[in-house]
């Protein structure tokens, strides 16, 4: 799409097919993401957006039946989820999971140190980590108190999503996949989260935003927009495509009834 020759794409997905319980949800996805780019993946409910995010992140309840994906030259699909995260592919969850009794700061420190070990860096001790996290928390305006509560337990919708962005800021992934990070947010929370995402942007990093609405894209300008329907990318374009979708809806891009795929995706969650 642009003329500059790039050394190697961060992520290259080719002909990816994936299914759950024998139901095919992804039916041949092709996608190339280069460092520095922000891609938005849009589409109606049940089109396979979240499935794509989860398959790329290593969720094992989906099976890949054809095609492949390379990440920084690795065969992505042969890596365990923790290896993908350590290599720099991190998923921001649509529904962040609660872990009772485990303090948020404990999980974050364990995660940061697991990634640092993998990268051959010294582990951070408690003081160093606290200094780092205080700095990153300002990005998402997160109150200190949330560090010491159990992971995501009793967090509001906005707090959960801010916590996801905080994790991105701490883990410094090469590719951040944000799955419906805008869902369930009021306008103030949306702005905070969007600012957090913008702060993550950089020449070495790519971001894939999975979203249903154009709303978030008003704050985070994507370089590319892809529309997913029935498990395929049916249209790609620049940021203006998102506005067109906002105006016209998804109907004009959908070719067949979406019901079976939607059911399957709902079950996969």
């Amino acid at each position: 799409m642009d003329n500059v020759r790039r050394p190697q794409p961060l992520l290259q997905v080719e002909g990816l097919h994936a299914s759950v319980d024998g139901k095919e949800i992804l039916r041949g996805i092709d996608l190339t993401v280069n460092a520095g780019e922000v891609h938005a993946i849009m589409g109606p409910n049940g089109s396979g957006k979240s499935t794509l995010a989860q398959v790329l992140a290593g969720r094992e309840s989906f099976s890949v039946t054809a095609g492949g994906a390379r990440f920084l030259g690795h065969d992505l699909l042969s890596l365990a989820p923790e290896e993908r995260a350590r290599e720099g592919l991190v998923l921001g969850f649509q529904y962040p999971v609660e872990i009772p009794g485990v303090s948020n700061v404990y999980l974050l420190k364990a995660a940061v140190n697991a990634v640092r070990r993998h990268r051959g860096l010294a582990e951070l001790d408690a003081m160093e980590f606290l200094k780092l996290i205080r700095e990153k928390m300002q990005l998402v305006e997160m109150p200190d108190e949330l560090l010491y509560r159990s992971v995501n337990e009793g967090f509001s919708g906005g707090e959960k999503k801010r916590n996801e962005i905080l994790q991105m800021a701490l883990l410094e992934p090469r590719l951040a996949i944000l799955d419906e990070t805008d869902s369930g947010l009021d306008i103030d929370a949306l702005q905070v989260v969007a600012e957090g995402i913008n702060a993550l942007r950089g020449p070495g990093r790519a971001i894939v935003l999975v979203t249903h609405y154009q709303r978030l894209l008003g704050y985070v300008q994507p370089d590319f927009v892809h529309v997913l329907a029935h498990g395929r990318i049916v249209k790609s374009g620049g940021k203006e495509l998102a506005l067109e979708l906002e105006r016209r809806g998804y109907g004009w891009l959908e070719e067949a009834p979406a019901a079976p795929a939607r059911e399957a995706e709902a079950r996969a969650r």
Partner: protein
């Protein structure tokens, strides 16, 4: 496509790090049990006549009792005539007078288990009584404690040096008629720890006993008796390990606690007896009677247990709340993996007015493990204003393990408040995926989730032991996510 398969139920299976055997010459009595064996044990221990009489009375009572079978457990038949009831490392001459004279092989054993018996080493804030098979091999910090009037050491020593205390309290909380295993223990018990804290004394260090089963085909029958006199405080810990053997070995202990007015006893257990192998072969039968008696007003007894070992754990550390305003607490983590079974819980008997009890039980089942919570909250007629609260949570890993909860509530006083809550959950694939997608290994993730689940109990353990217990929970689940 070959996704790296990491299923939760594959995390089961582990190495038991304490499974070694120490080569020592032993002094054992012939296999089997009759009055002569009991006389022999009593003679070996040079006991006063009242002890032998008590043992024989217990034995006669035991002979009339039937083995109980009401627990939710599968137990292979036990042949009580095929057990060796006394086994002790052979002593040279008189036996060690101080720790310096203890057989170096034994010192090495405890060293290897992470319990050095040199007073200057790591466990400097903890006094340790080390029990090896049937006898106590040494007690640290005895002299220092004696300066404060605290008696701490082996039961045998207490019988010789403080017969009046032993005679007054022995069997006063758990009489030998209490149950089959308590009667057996009373007849044949060989050693254990004894502790007496005089009035108003706050014991300055943690007291602990480290139990080690070493010999083959023996049973371990120890008895612990702790008395906190008026206004005294003591925190006591016990740890347990055993070698890996294919046969099941019986461990039938009795623990009695007595808290007088305003006294507080905190009793913590980290039980890691050999659990058997992955197929369920071997392992310790841990059939224990533990009971505390809040005899005086405003007294308090707290049981905290982390049970990760044994093929079968069957015990209910209980509290008799006799004094007014007495407080009983029970905090428990029981983990069963592979083919382990646990039927554990507590009994809180409210007798005095305004007595309170708190029960927090966390059961974790992995592999084919079966975990049962069984608890009784009983309020007697005179227990005006009694309050009892219990909380039982079960966590399942994989789909072949089981969790069961049997709460019993009996209330005979209308002013009492008794509450019970229970929950069962499964470690979700999504919790695990969430942690892994943050770069955390599946083993660390499971350990983190399990430790989080047990947090309310672990925080009750003394600091050093909380760290040990956390590690133990991690090790015990090793291999349950592959």
């Amino acid at each position: 496509m070959a996704q790296p398969a990491t299923k939760l139920d594959e995390l089961v299976g582990r190495e038991y790090p304490h499974g070694f055997v120490t080569e020592v010459e032993t002094d054992t009595v012939p296999r089997g049990l009759d009055e002569d064996v009991i006389r022999l044990i009593s003679r070996k221990k040079d006991e006063p006549a009242f002890m032998l009489e008590w043992r024989l009375a217990a034995f006669r009572a035991w002979q009339k009792m039937a083995e109980p079978h009401w627990a939710h457990l599968r137990i292979a038949p036990i042949d009580y005539q095929d057990i060796i009831y006394y086994s002790a490392p052979k002593q040279r001459g008189e036996g060690p007078k101080s720790l310096d004279e203890v057989d170096p092989e034994l010192l090495k054993t405890y060293e290897k288990l992470g319990v050095p018996l040199h007073e200057r080493e790591r466990l400097a804030g903890v006094a340790v009584d080390a029990v090896f098979d049937s006898v106590s091999v040494g007690t640290t910090f005895q002299a220092k404690l004696a300066e404060m009037g605290i008696v701490f050491g082996s039961f045998s020593e207490a019988v010789r040096k403080h017969p009046e205390l032993v005679r007054r309290y022995l069997g006063s909380v758990v009489p030998y008629t209490d149950n089959f295993f308590a009667a057996l223990n009373a007849a044949v018990f060989t050693d254990g720890s004894f502790c007496y804290i005089p009035p108003g004394v706050r014991c300055p260090m943690e007291l602990s006993t480290y139990f080690r089963i070493n010999a083959k085909e023996t049973g371990q029958f120890e008895r612990t008796l702790i008395i906190a006199d008026e206004g005294a405080y003591v925190s006591y810990l016990e740890g347990c390990t055993a070698p890996m053997r294919d046969e099941n070995q019986l461990h039938a202990a009795v623990v009695e606690l007595v808290a007088h007015e305003r006294a507080h006893i905190k009793y913590s257990t980290v039980q890691n007896w050999y659990p058997g192998d992955r197929e369920g072969k071997g392992g310790i039968y841990n059939f224990v009677t533990k009971r505390g008696d809040c005899r005086g007003a405003n007294s308090r007894i707290s049981w905290t247990q982390v049970e990760t070992g044994s093929a079968i754990t069957w015990k209910y550390p209980s509290v008799l709340l006799r004094g007014d305003n007495a407080v009983g607490e029970f905090y428990s983590v029981a983990l069963t993996n592979n083919w382990q079974q646990a039927d554990t819980g507590t009994k809180m008997i409210h007798i005095g007015r305004n007595t309170r009890s708190t029960i927090v039980s966390k059961g974790i089942s992995a592999g084919h493990g079966q975990n049962t919570y069984r608890g009784l909250s009983k309020v007697l007629k005179g227990a005006e204003g009694a309050r009892s609260h219990s909380e039982c949570d079960s966590l399942l890993l994989g789909d072949t393990s089981g969790a069961h909860t049997f709460p019993y509530i009996e209330v005979r006083n209308p002013t009492a408040t008794v509450e019970h809550e229970a929950s069962t959950s499964r470690i979700g694939e999504d919790q695990l995926f969430y942690c892994r997608q943050r770069g955390i290994s599946p083993e660390d993730a499971v350990s983190m989730i399990v430790n989080g689940f047990c947090k309310d109990v672990l925080k009750e353990l003394p600091m050093e032991f909380a760290v040990e217990a956390q590690k133990l929970l991690g090790v015990s689940l090793e291999g349950s996510v592959g």
